[in-house]
Amino acid sequence: MNTLTTKPLWYRIRPWVWIILLIAIYLWAFNGLNFEGVQSTAKSVSLSIIDGFAHPDWDYVYDPEGEDLLRGLLDTLIISILGTFVSAFLCIPFAFWAAANVSRLRAVSGTGKVVLSVIRVFPEMIVAILFIKAVGPGSFAGVLALGVHSIGMLAKLYSESIETIDPGPSEALTAAGASKLQVLWFAVLPQVIPQFLSYSLYRFEINMRSATTLGLVGAGGIGTPLLFALQMRNWNRVGVILLGIIILVVLTDLISGWIRKRIV
């Protein structure tokens, strides 16, 4: 009992300070979201949404001429494949830059890590908007957005796997007189490539999810017809597109998970 009461004051009140702080933050946050009440149309809109989702617009799945669901999904898939491919290569120099065991100077890997976290915090939608302004709306902007945005995470994961390699082979090669490039090619890369592939596939799964919404800002894929359907309140079409997205994401997750298990 005695030991309890002699605890420093700060330790006794600390949980309460946290709780009060949290409550204050949330009161402030709730106040900010001035909720104007449910609109009078909310009920009918909800009902029509449920009705639309219950009766998807099957005619939209395949349309011999013009835009249809399958083409949109194929575009989405391609955008994420190409985006992942672009970033898987672009991020290799970044990864070696940020890996602590590649260069002797601590400052080099430190700056690399900072650059990567700056890339990482950029929301990909904003990257997409910038690329749309640069190369025009379409799949290409989506590919570039995913390619650049993914560098942040992929290069971080790559650099971590470079940091954990076994130094033995590189030392042996250096001792036998190999050049830096030869060490990289014959000692470092064979150890990290399986992990690189596995991380890239993981990122591909994430990109697949992002690619479905990139079209909402005009960067190609299924998001563009989805946006039109949403604007026209065509809930049957929204329903079938959502269904398509779910099936596509689940399928690519399954396939990519299966491949990842085989690689590692």
């Binding site: 946050a29 190409l82 929301p123 904003i126 190369v135 379409g138 919404t213 800002v217 997205i245």
Partner: protein
């Protein structure tokens, strides 16, 4: 004899994989008209865009401060509500708490479905129901983080130490006692850390929700870009970047303390 006939490892499988990969990429590129040529043409335009962004319009800062705060508020409330909603679902689909598969498997299926729906689609649907504004964005963030937190948490629950649970079952604890005294104390630090992680993700998500009319800073970004005011867009992007970096840093420090 066997030792003498060591052959070089079969390489053609690897070559075939690479060829397949290259063909896949080329076909994809042709299908969507993504070519290096386009990149070379597009890069100068990108340069002019970036050039127009400097100097950022600093006088716009007071105007965007309030929507930025609103973005954080959306993320805060959405994360909390989603996190609270996630607890019962995470418990229901962890096999070591709910050995009855007829409950846990359907719940897992629901979670997987929720996670495949993009956050912007949630936002667009809620905007249609509740009108334009931050409330729709908050609901979108709530459902989005619910899927994320529930999945991470149930995986954490499944990896807890089974010892205390067995001991409690042996002395006759019921399900509620098991959860309150056996599962929650072990899973709590992980859960809090996932909550913080989800908050980081949600701040980023909330900053673009405005593109579909769900409140926050995204609306102003969309408007500035539409009016070709790239100096204003630049200041919005800069502010978002700073806020996200600060929140990420704070949350990382907190998470390190938790685990």
């Amino acid at each position: 004899m066997k030792a003498a006939t060591i052959e070089a490892p079969q390489r053609y499988k690897r070559y075939l994989t690479w060829i397949f990969f290259v063909v896949l990429i080329v076909v994809c590129a042709i299908q969507t008209d993504v070519t290096p040529y386009q990149l070379i043409v597009g890069l100068p335009q990108m340069g002019t865009l970036l050039a127009e962004m400097v100097p950022p319009d600093w006088s716009y800062l007071p105007t965007i401060w309030k929507p930025m705060v609103e973005t954080i508020q959306i993320a805060l409330v959405g994360t909390m509500l989603g996190g609270i909603l996630a607890i019962p679902f995470a418990l229901l689909c962890a096999y070591n708490v709910m050995p009855n598969r007829t409950v846990s498997v359907p719940v897992r299926l629901i979670l997987n479905l929720v996670r495949t729906v993009p956050d912007l689609l949630f936002a667009a649907i809620f905007v249609a129901i509740f009108g334009i504004g931050p409330f729709a964005g908050m609901l979108a963030i709530m459902f989005f983080s619910f899927g994320l937190i529930a999945k991470l948490t149930f995986e954490a629950i499944e990896s807890i130490d089974p010892g205390p649970l067995e001991a409690m079952t042996a002395v006759g604890a019921n399900k509620i006692q098991l959860i309150v005294f056996g599962v929650l104390p072990q899973a709590m630090p992980h859960y809090m850390s996932y909550l913080l992680y989800a908050f980081e993700v949600n701040v980023r998500a909330a900053s673009v929700l405005g593109l579909v009319g769900a409140g926050g800073i995204g609306l102003l970004l969309d408007r500035s870009l539409g009016l070709f005011r790239y100096d204003r867009a630049a200041i919005i992007i800069l502010l978002t970047l700073v806020i996200v970096l600060v929140i990420d840093y704070g949350s990382t420090v907190l998470r390190r303390k938790l685990l």
